[in-house]
Assembly symmetry: C2
Homo-oligomer: 323 residues x 2
């Protein structure tokens, strides 16, 4: 939650000169987005979000992200719609950074999702997957199964500082995931980071999906597993099977999960837990001691991983009822 790059009014006014958005009335840095700097713009043309892409987002990936938002918005998925300059481009440069303006979406992210929110989220995720099926661009998921061992290697020696035996548990589980990871499931665009702070609601209706900067081409059901981890556990790390069923029901009402997807679901859930456990572990050691900005706790995902290892089959998630 930060603004990494500041912008002067003169710079911003010059940048806006290429757009048909009217005169600049105000802009404020907003405390959202871990990777980029975001500003809420008010112009005589309305309200917009300005994003400056910081170095953690590869500039070469930006056409995929911008193109994806345009594609999804054209299919009436409620996501930020990139605003184009008069010359027809949606990606510019401001304050030495790649920059884009997107439409402002109303709605609030829910700090404590209910069963109803989980059901609505499932439906929105499935709608995203369907809308993305005919998107022509591809982006490899660098944080899928092939990317986990290199991450682990950078943190292995210190993993025991976070929890005794953590390195050994990861090693065993990672080897099993590498052996069992399903390759033939339906692929397409996945969001890959659809945590509650990336989903806006008005009442219990999803009013917007944001932050497509981990989106990539990967197994659709893996995205469902990421959401189950992010939405269906309680603050004490206990799995809430009612929320899990609601998410899966909501998804299945829009897109049917095939028998192979349902069968592979437990391993996909373990993989989703492993992915966030590993990135949080690496971030944990990357932040200097005493820093005011605390990295997210890897333990949360370690406990989710261990929960998934106790699962006997998809029935424990409530997925068998979907057949």
């Amino acid at each position: 939650m930060a603004v990494y790059t500041d912008v002067t009014a003169d710079e911003l006014q010059a940048f806006l000169g290429d757009y048909d958005l009217g005169d600049l009335l105000s802009y404020k840095g907003i405390a959202e987005g871990v990777e980029n700097s975001n500003f809420l713009l008010h112009t005589t043309g309305g309200h917009f979000i300005l994003t400056l892409y910081e170095k953690r987002v590869a500039a070469g990936d930006l056409p995929f992200f911008i193109g994806l938002m345009e594609h999804l918005a054209a299919r009436r998925l409620t996501c930020p719609q990139p605003v184009k300059t008069r010359a027809g481009t949606a990606l510019g440069r401001l304050a030495g950074r790649p920059a884009a303006i997107v439409t402002f979406l109303d709605g609030m992210w829910v700090r404590r999702p209910t069963v109803g929110h989980c059901h609505a989220l499932g439906g929105a995720l499935a709608a995203l997957h369907l809308a993305g099926l005919d998107f022509s661009m591809q982006r490899r998921n660098a944080l899928s199964v092939d990317g986990w061992r290199p991450l682990f290697e950078t943190a292995r020696d210190r993993a025991g500082e976070v929890a005794p035996g953590l390195a050994e548990t990861i090693e065993t589980s990672l080897a099993a995931l590498e052996a069992d990871w399903p390759a033939e499931l339906p692929h397409g665009v996945i969001h890959a980071d659809l945590f509650p702070d990336n989903v806006f609601f008005l009442d219990t209706r999803v009013s917007g999906l944001i932050d497509f900067y981990f989106a990539c081409t990967d197994t659709l059901a893996y995205d469902v597993a990421i959401c189950l981890n992010a939405w269906c556990f309680e603050p004490d790390h206990a799995y809430n099977v009612t929320k899990g069923r609601a998410l899966l029901d909501g998804y299945a009402a829009v897109r049917t999960l095939s028998a192979p997807e349902r069968k592979a679901f437990p391993v996909l859930c373990r993989g989703a837990a492993m992915r966030f456990l590993l990135t949080r572990l690496v971030d944990w050691f990357a932040v200097p001691a005493g820093a005011l900005v605390k990295p997210k706790d890897p333990i949360e995902y370690y406990r989710k991983l261990r929960f998934h290892q106790t699962i006997r089959g998809g029935r424990d998630y409530g997925i068998d009822a979907l057949c």
Copy 2:
């Protein structure tokens, strides 16, 4: 620049139930305000700022700050106007904090003030001083001359870590300020923290003054000295006499500086530099090493203090031309 306290949509909706602002459509934490948590609200009634007062603001002072904004807004000074509940109160409680909603002001703060901005700022400051003359509440300035020595005592032993000889320079200058501080100059409401990030402009017109949480009852010309320090030095710490004259001209066009105020101006400028040097020095030692949020550099105000010590009289600021 941070949001210290998060708010859930449910809490915020319940809080808004006491107001006539319509339905909540969105709220975003904004990266402004060092002391408090601020959110930009969008409701069916419009755009507003929600502030949660963190512990650095004394709850007992809030009626003064809120009352002052109401007083100034009623006199058409463009400052945030507190929004009242149906019961007529402007100060509530949310997420365990005192909280208030104020109107949203358009405008941008200028990162690099020009001579024109300094002139406009001077006029706005004088208008604030005139509008505050009949405000009935009082608040003592805890950061005026009586408060400086206690601050210095907490940092004296380590001051040499920031610059060699700093403790000795402060000691000498502080003793002189305590001896020479003018007591009989015109008093009233001062903003006391009118740095560029607290002044919004649309083009070169001041569109709003914000952040009244250091406002107090003190010497009016001292507020001018604070602004001269904050607005009229270049990034290399050199005083820009053209900007100084513009600020003083702008001020004098709205409120005349009396002969005693002009005579005392150099000592007021030294005092204003001392006040920010000391609070920055204390903050410098209060923040743990390695923290990502860096405190503001005390050296900037040390150099300003030393500049003011070279001044032979008000003429060097351009103030004599105002007679």
